[in-house]
Symmetry: C2
């Protein structure tokens, strides 16, 4: 089989930088220039069904605060995603609030009273946090250039606009045969949206959601359900005043800091849902983007890092052409 180390290093061996034709040799590419040079066919529209749009009350300067979340694609976290869809459809979050902001950890929102009844059928799923994805070592499509990344937590790769980690020890059977699937799971990078829960076996319903606002919290992977990621308006969650209560919850004295949630809607329930697209993670441009992130060679940098971890490669998202 393809040795794991060589597999993990695939992206570093890509001749992507040398092939960079849209810039003169004196201006090495940056992540932004690689994204800007991506072909239109390399962008994938995000279905409006996969958008969750949260409007917070305007800030003290009267500015609107909209947070757009891309929901997790199948086969991951789907029972929780279904709950989230139900809760949005019945406008369950309207009138609830942001209740917890813990520095370098999470912003969490939902019903501060923890007493608001849930819609019928919205219960904590008994479902795994991992699922099967094609084994990157078994990919046969030469057009699929999705790079694999090795970091302190194992191996990772990208699919459907999201980063996933998987167990490198489960890529082959004991006889060395490469297995068609690996067990993979969504990761808690900056911007990941997950499901708050109590102590296991509780898994949470999805009514209490959090976003990772600081450094990645990879120890939460496989322990809590990740249902999406923030793709616009992250600053409306990350720049909120931190709560002084335990775990960053706002205390009763700080009740005025709880930002009211005006509405949370699924894309199809909006008159004008945002039109967004992400850079195909199997595209040539995405592979180059990863390579450039691992080895900055533009004028500002003098020593390339020589590597990059999974969470330091945010999948590029932009407004669709018609909306730009």
């Amino acid at each position: 089989m393809k040795p794991l180390l060589a597999l993990a290093a695939t992206f570093l061996a890509l001749p992507a930088l040398a092939q960079d034709a849209e810039k003169p040799a004196t201006e090495p590419p940056t992540p932004a220039s690689v994204i800007a040079a991506a072909a239109p066919r390399e962008w994938i529209a995000i279905a409006r069904e996969d958008l969750l749009v949260m409007d917070l009350a305007p800030d003290t300067r009267g500015k609107a605060r909209r947070v757009v979340i891309q929901l997790m694609p199948p086969p991951f976290s789907q029972p929780w995603v279904a709950n989230v869809r139900t809760l949005a459809a019945v406008h369950w979050w309207d009138g609830t609030s942001v209740n917890r902001v813990q520095d370098n950890y999470v912003t969490q929102w939902g019903d501060a009273t923890e007493a608001k009844p849930l819609p019928a059928g919205v219960t904590a799923p008994r479902s795994p946090y991992s699922a099967e994805l094609p084994n990157p070592a078994a990919r046969n499509d030469p057009a699929d250039r999705t790079p694999d990344l090795s970091d302190a937590y194992g191996l990772g790769y990208f699919a459907k606009g999201f980063p996933f980690a998987f167990d490198p020890g489960r890529m082959q059977d004991p006889s060395g045969r490469i297995l068609p699937q690996v067990t993979a799971w969504p990761v808690h990078c900056h911007g990941a949206v997950g499901v708050g829960r109590n102590v296991a076996p509780d898994t949470g319903t999805g009514a209490e959601l959090y976003a990772i606002i600081g450094q990645p919290q990879r120890h939460m992977d496989r322990n809590l359900a990740v249902v999406g990621r923030v793709i616009e308006g992250m600053e409306h969650l990350s720049a909120l005043p931190r709560g002084s209560g335990e775990l960053g919850f706002y205390t009763d004295e700080e009740a005025a800091l709880r930002v009211p949630i005006l509405s949370v809607r699924l894309g199809p329930d909006m008159a004008e849902p945002p039109a967004l697209e992400y850079l195909d993670t199997a595209s040539e441009s995405f592979a180059r983007y990863v390579a450039v992130r691992a080895n900055r060679k533009d004028a500002f940098y003098t020593v390339p890092a020589g590597g990059v971890d999974l969470c330091s490669v945010p999948v590029p998202v932009r407004r669709s052409a018609a909306a730009r």
Copy 2:
């Protein structure tokens, strides 16, 4: 020689969890419980000479905002640290402001006009961003339990209360002899404080400082000087409104968002400098703390991560006993 992989995995093989005597077997340790159980001798007082204390104007609720920075120890970044000491000694930052807040990147402060004269002798050093540290593979002190961590950026370890990365390819000479020193460098973890600069060969003077407010920015390692880390009051930098100008600078229309800096002082110049101490990174408790961070087994977690990266191990800091 000791194989590198085994070296990197040293902390995982520690019998620390099994030796955990202060908790019953039914309550596995948490990072907090390990810190709480550390012996008094395992804490090292931070010299007041190594403290830089920045008082921002009070927030809109009238609350004081103090940011405490631990300055980088020798042999790292010392010419810039010397500049920072000079600038604080002459009260250069008093009356300047926070001018840039870029989401998931940096908060930066200094003179918004970029015209304020610098004290004599404060110039951009011609100095390397790396320095020599003892090779962890050559340590002879059995009491030194500093764990080494492998991540996407190479190997890392801890010294003097700070995380450092080093090149694993430089631990031995071509004949396999373990070298006494490695070339190491400070890393841009959440909370790291660095020196803003223009395009190289400029290295910055230290008058413009930034703090990493989101995920680690390891691609900046060895490209900018790290002069310390925020050890108290991080939320006063991370929760500020993001600037809408290029790179997150506040625009002229947003001038009111520039938080005034009331004063920046070195510890010895204060009537009552904060009394702080950090957990000795060569201590048994620190090694256990790393092991627990890599493998959470308390009730909330069901699947331990099995690893942890350098920036996900913040060195514990607390108020000294007399100050608590």
